[in-house]
């Protein structure tokens, strides 16, 4: 069933491969996350591991670095069978991972973070010196005494890489490394990666759900789906459509799926007409194809109606005095999806917080339907009709210790109460309706929220926010961490909301998601909007430069 990647012709193959994972199986309860998965990494090669969210690739990597213990299977390093029980153990075996979510402690300095997780006596001078060396060697430009809190996302990832390289590992694992980077930062990362691999003969595993990345960077690729390896082999001979098909297990037809898989390049080359997409990326003979493509909405004309949401000159600072939003101005019209594109940490979080009444502003105003709304006042935004799907639902979207029913009426319990008394029966029956309507998979209205999977928790949030007849829907990273089906569902809901006249503000660091859903795109950089373009004249290159902070005031004039 599973296929082991073919060995290539090459000098290093006289010695055994750096890593062999053989028939790894891992179950979580009744779910089989990895089902007899095998993977071979060679020195001097970059091996791409491609799959949807939830395909089992992260679990496989966690097995390799000792965060997860496999139920069955073998791990061999240089031909010798080993057991890896925890990350320290993995480090001792020469395996290091650059994490998707940073493993850096913000309050500590670069060198302190680099030293974290080592064993033995702490030698600050030696660590500092080593950081400097590696930084120089790969042109990373990092000062060992900087505090992480003061570094932007791109620099933090370089620190992560240094943290990895400092132990001089033989095997490097990168888990979705570009999700927090601007296009130019991604370029930089891959350049550095190639240097590491080719000069030092390290084995690299690159986990990603972005096809173009895998195609352009890797030497070999393994595709996973539903916990199994479905395809493995050299990258050179493969083409995008075959890989995409292998990844989803069916023909790739929908534009929104491009978004999910990150086929930006293909998308960009496409004319706005969607039918061509089918021809390019799939065999196109599926009967579904024609049905699907007709669904794609034609480019929207700019709505003439007055804006339903208007932010004027919003300036906000953090508790440490850092300027988070710097005179941000933005409009959303009814029935429109406005995408806020940008690299992580450029004010998106604060923008979401301001619209959730979680962050007060120093200057500027927020208007809903032309009426100014108090900022920073508990519940004011929600009362004005601003629905929010927050970036981190556990932070401000739900109460994990409450039941599903309670979570569905968090914002407006008065809907199921009379004279301040909550009617439990009304709450349960209304909740049951919503559970049904939004296909929330749970044992019932009384199920505790924490017992739901991430995707279903997200649906509860969505159901609550949409059922309160919003004027505006703010969706911050709405598909982050969801699998492809859930992404599809979320996208449909956002489109439907817009169709029904709600103004949708989509804040996302996934450019593909923005490109796929938005009628109009604005770019946020350093807390201000630095450019915008309508869906019709999207210029991805220009978008990328804006996101990276390039000054395009001249270029902006022409569009």
């Amino acid at each position: 069933m599973t296929s082991v990647p073919n060995d290539h012709v090459g000098g290093e193959h006289s010695s055994p491969p750096a890593v062999e994972l053989i028939d790894i199986t891992k179950r979580f309860g009744q779910i089989v996350a990895c089902d007899r998965v095998s993977l071979t990494l060679h020195r001097g090669r970059i091996h791409g591991i491609l799959g949807e969210n939830g395909a089992g690739k992260s679990t496989l990597m966690k097995v390799l670095i000792g965060l997860v213990l496999p139920d069955a299977g073998q791990i061999r390093l240089h031909g010798r069978q080993v057991q890896i029980v925890d990350p320290i153990d993995a480090g001792a075996h020469g395996i290091a991972m650059v994490h998707q979510h940073f493993s850096l402690v913000e309050a500590l300095t670069v060198w302190e973070n680099v030293a974290l997780g080592d064993v033995g006596r702490l030698d600050p001078r030696h660590v500092r010196q080593r950081v400097g060396e590696i930084s120089e060697q790969y042109g990373l430009d990092i000062d060992p005494d900087d505090r992480i809190a003061h570094l932007p996302a791109g620099m933090r990832q370089r620190v992560e890489i240094i943290k990895c390289l400092r132990r001089d590992p033989e095997v490097l694992v990168f888990d979705e490394p570009t999700s927090v980077l601007s296009p130019s930062e991604s370029e930089f990362l891959f350049d550095a990666l190639r240097r590491v691999v080719h000069h030092e003969g390290k084995a690299v595993a690159l986990v990603s759900h972005k096809l173009p990345e895998i195609l352009s960077v890797t030497d070999e690729v393994t595709i996973m789906r539903d916990g199994r390896v479905v395809k493995a082999g050299p990258t050179a001979g493969a083409d995008a459509s075959t890989l995409a098909r292998a990844m989803v297990g069916r023909d790739v037809v929908l534009r929104r799926e491009h978004a999910a898989f990150g086929v930006v390049d293909t998308l960009i080359e496409m004319p706005v007409d969607a039918t061509d997409t089918t021809a390019d990326t799939s065999a196109g003979d599926s009967p579904a194809a024609s049905v699907e493509t007709s669904e794609v909405v034609a480019p929207t004309e700019t709505p003439a109606a007055a804006p339903v949401l208007r932010l004027v000159g919003i300036t906000a600072t953090g508790r440490d005095g850092r300027v988070l939003l710097d005179g941000l101005t933005l409009e959303v019209h009814p029935g429109e999806i406005v995408g806020v594109a940008g690299v992580e940490d450029n004010g998106q979080r604060t923008l979401g917080d301001v619209l959730s009444s979680l962050h007060d502003v120093d200057a500027g105003r927020v208007e809903v339907n032309g009426v100014q709304v108090a900022t920073g006042t508990a519940g004011a935004m929600a009362r004005a009709g601003v629905a929010v799907i927050p970036e981190d639902r556990h932070d401000s979207g739900c109460v994990l210790d409450f039941t599903v029913a309670e979570n569905l009426f968090l914002v407006d319990p008065n809907r199921v109460s009379r004279r301040g008394l909550i009617s439990m029966s009304a709450m349960r029956s209304r909740a049951a309706e919503l559970i049904d309507r939004f296909s929330i998979n749970c044992t019932g209205p009384d199920a505790p929220m924490w017992s739901l999977s991430g995707g279903n928790q997200q649906r509860v949030v969505l159901a609550r926010e949409l059922s309160h007849d919003p004027q505006v829907l703010v969706a911050a990273q709405p598909t982050h961490g969801l699998d492809v089906g859930a992404i599809e569902y979320m996208s449909t809901q956002l489109r439907d909301a817009a169709k029904s006249g709600v103004g949708v503000l989509l804040i996302s660091t996934e450019l593909e998601e923005i490109l796929d859903l938005s009628d109009r795109i604005v770019v946020i950089f350093n807390g201000r909007i630095v450019g915008q373009m309508a869906k019709g004249d999207v210029d991805v290159e220009r978008l990328g430069m804006l996101m990276g902070g390039a000054d395009l005031s001249t270029a902006g004039a022409q569009s």
């Binding site: 965060l67 990350p87 320290i88 940073f102 493993s103 850096l104 402690v105 500590l108 974290l116 997780g117």
Partner: protein
């Protein structure tokens, strides 16, 4: 008011007032130096009060059985036992740390009270030891260097805590888990184990602190001996903005205030009601925290339990 000012003048020139003030400050220093480490790792140990009380009782029993050194040893052991309950309940079973701490305070007070009621240990004050030369410094000399010798144990403790926190790998890891347990976990640190270790350290330090206080202050064990000094030590750490320097300053300030006001009546100022003297340290502590608490950044994960995969 005039009375009060002349009282202040008298206190500040009174040698024994300084001596008592230092004794009162040092018990806070012992406790706070442990508590600082625990808070850096993310725990507020309300049960520090119980650890100190248990330490004092252990010291009394130890001295009864075999002298001061055995007393100190048993003080540390008693503090450690209390801290083991706190550590394992709050950072193995993730029960609420305040709840556990509070219950321990009540429970240890009950146990110690019961034990003393059944069988009172025979303990006594430790003799002063004059450090040659240093004790001759006017005013401060006797206060710092002509004291029961157990007090001198605190002098190496302060730099040692600094060294451990900022120059050792363990200290680095402690600071990391208090700031970001998730990142620390991913980096391969055992978050809850490290936190438990800091609580053990607090137990030992505050146990010794309690024992020291018995030997230096009264010599006779009473269950009111500690009387809320553990809470003041916690307040000193908060007041000090989670820095060693600040915590030491907080301990000295709170200790001095608490002790100075107690010497007021003995200087002939009887008109001030003792109630105000007794509450003065607490009032000063509250006011100090009110003024300073907002300005400083606490360890980001302070008082948040860590369970892998949960935020």
């Amino acid at each position: 008011m005039g009375n009060f000012i002349s009282a202040l003048g008298d206190i500040f020139s009174n040698e024994s007032a300084y001596r008592n003030a230092v004794i009162a400050a040092v018990v806070l220093l012992f406790a706070a130096s442990g508590e600082l480490v625990a808070e850096k790792a993310g725990t507020i140990n309300i049960s520090i009060e119980a650890m100190m009380l248990a330490g004092a009782y252990g010291a009394a029993v130890g001295q009864d059985q075999g002298g001061v050194w055995l007393g100190l040893l048993m003080a540390a052991a008693a503090g450690l036992v209390v801290s083991a309950v706190q550590a394992n309940m709050s950072h193995r079973l993730s029960a609420d740390q305040f709840v556990v701490g509070l219950v321990l305070n009540v429970l240890v007070l009950g146990i110690v009270g019961f034990l003393v009621g059944s069988n009172e240990p025979d303990s006594h004050i430790v003799q002063r030891f004059e450090v040659p030369g240093l004790s001759k410094i006017p005013l401060l000399g006797p206060a710092l260097f002509d004291q029961p010798w157990v007090l001198y144990l605190v002098y190496p403790v302060i730099p040692a805590v600094w060294f451990v926190l900022y120059r050792t790998r363990w200290g680095l890891e402690v600071r990391a888990v208090g700031e970001d347990p998730n990142a620390s976990d991913v980096s391969g640190l055992r978050v809850n184990k490290l936190r438990r270790q800091t609580i053990y350290l607090t137990g030992i330090m505050s146990g010794i602190g309690g024992g020291y206080f018995l030997f230096a202050r009264s010599g006779r064990f009473e269950d009111s001996l500690i009387g809320g000094r553990g809470y003041i030590a916690i307040a000193a750490v908060i007041f000090g903005g989670w820095t060693l320097k600040g915590s030491v300053a907080g301990c000295l300030a709170f200790g001095l205030v608490g002790s100075f006001v107690l010497t007021i009546p003995s200087l002939g100022y009887q008109s001030i009601d003792p109630a105000f003297l007794a509450m003065a340290p607490n009032m000063v502590t509250i006011v100090a925290m009110t003024v300073f608490a907002r300005r400083v950044r606490q360890p980001a994960a302070l008082a948040r339990p860590f369970v892998r995969g949960l935020k």
